[in-house]
Amino acid sequence: MTRIVLQSADIGRALTRISHEILESNKGPDGLVLLGIPTRGATLARRIGALLSGIAGAAVPVGSLDVTMHRDDLHRNPTRAPQPTEIPAEGIDGRVVVLVDDVLFSGRSIRAALDALQDLGRPAAVRLAVLVDRGHRELPIRPDFVGKNLPSSREERVNVRLSEVDGGEDEVTIA
């Protein structure tokens, strides 16, 4: 029983809205750094980065932040190869870092990301943008920018497909 929750056009609209909200809350593009959490968070960060430049007319630095090494559930899963962390040349000190991820669930990845971020420098503020918030938080973590709130049961699987990574059409499904 797989159900499509967001189609390609929905995703595009959601990202545009998030971009506007980021600019609004930051009062412009100054000092922003987008860090996507690999794999699909990094892709979304690049897309939002492109949208921001288009809207604000100035380039916003985009990078990626791998959190594998900071996860607290490594023992419970097969070892996976970490993805690259790429911090823009501007660094993160004193900047407003927007973490970007595809799905927010327990909050543990974001906890790991905050931990990883701490080792890299001292941002002025950290915000969180996610395409889908499906609930079931296990930590006191709350997103600042959300594409879609998606009530789900714990057992369900939310699957995000992005053309750059998965080929084909963008879509978000739940099963």
Partner: protein
């Protein structure tokens, strides 16, 4: 990956994954906070039955940067008493709850025995066994070559077509064995150069070209020239007549260095006998990767420990 005993056990993808993760580890080593919480709560034992401060420290730094607890067990100190068997030691480590054991042993195959005899559940990393293998050295050598060739863009790439000439005491070299299997796996062309006494009998099925003539190898302008350490006692066992002749025939002299293309990397696993297998000028030249190798050793060992110990038990 349960253990890292021999590069011959690695598949191409596995080897590349270790090298790619080492890139991530290298970036950690370059920043202010050089520590990751990855192996918090895990215990890594450095079990050294043979003196090697350099290798032990490299593993120790690697484990600590991943936040593991490190215990040094050394046969030279008091922690492994003389005559205590590998089995007794292994059972002690098991009782301590070691998650990973990094073992250096004078007997070829000792890490294999430790990993497979059923005495211990820990993952085993071979840090050099007799004249058998030294897999993390080969991995750091491959990593060093890839970084010199491609910089940070090396991620995901192998060493296809890279020519590597390994010179010296192949017979007794665990570094040479591990490098032969790994470099071949990664697509490099490997050539061995040594006096016939220091080439093992029975290398007919090795994926290498073997020869005696260093000048001919230099004339081919290899991408990498790897000089192996020569032990003085080999001279007394009649493997070659003396230091002068060895240096003249198989040493990287200033004169041979001058004939190498500027792009050739000069590698040495250390510690070097300056003036014997490598001249001081060659060791300190811009072509030399010796210090890179030391730094990369920590990154590669972090990567190996991560892949062995981070995942589910």
């Amino acid at each position: 990956m349960r253990h890292l005993l021999s590069t011959a056990d690695l598949g191409r993808d596995q080897a590349l994954t270790i090298l790619d993760t080492a890139e991530d580890m290298a970036s950690v080593s370059g920043r202010e906070v050089k520590k990751l919480p990855t192996l918090r709560g895990r215990t890594v034992v450095n079990l050294f039955f043979e003196d090697s401060t350099r290798t032990r420290i490299s593993f120790e730094v690697a484990a600590k940067r991943l936040s593991a607890d490190v215990i040094n067990f050394s046969a030279k100190g008091s922690s492994v008493s003389k005559g205590e068997s590998l089995k007794d030691t292994a059972q002690t480590l098991q009782a301590m709850g070691a998650d990973g054991v990094v073992i250096r042993h004078p007997a070829s195959g000792a890490p294999h025995t430790l990993a497979h005899a059923g005495w211990i559940d820990a993952g085993v990393v071979n840090a050099g066994d007799g004249t058998h293998e030294h897999p993390t050295q080969a991995l750091l050598d491959a990593f060093t070559i890839r970084r010199r060739l491609h910089g940070a863009a090396g991620r995901g790439r192998d060493l296809d077509g890279v020519s590597v000439t390994i010179v010296g005491d192949i017979l007794h070299s665990r570094v040479a064995r591990s490098n032969v299997w790994l470099l071949h796996l990664l697509g490099a062309r490997v050539r061995l150069v040594a006096p016939a006494t220091l080439l093992p009998v029975g290398i007919g099925d090795w994926p290498v070209e073997a020869g005696y003539d260093l000048d001919a190898a230099v004339a081919e302008g290899p991408d990498v020239l790897m000089m192996l350490r020569v032990q003085a006692e080999r001279m007394h066992d009649a493997f070659f007549p003396g230091e002068r002749e060895y240096s003249r025939e198989w040493g990287l002299t200033d004169e041979r260095l001058a004939r190498l293309p500027a792009t050739t990397m000069v590698m040495h696993p250390g510690p070097m006998n300056r003036g014997l297998e490598i001249s001081a000028a060659a060791a300190d030249s811009p072509a030399s990767t010796v210090l890179d190798q030391v730094a990369n050793g920590v990154s590669v060992r972090m990567s190996a420990l991560y892949h062995l110990l981070a995942g589910e038990e």
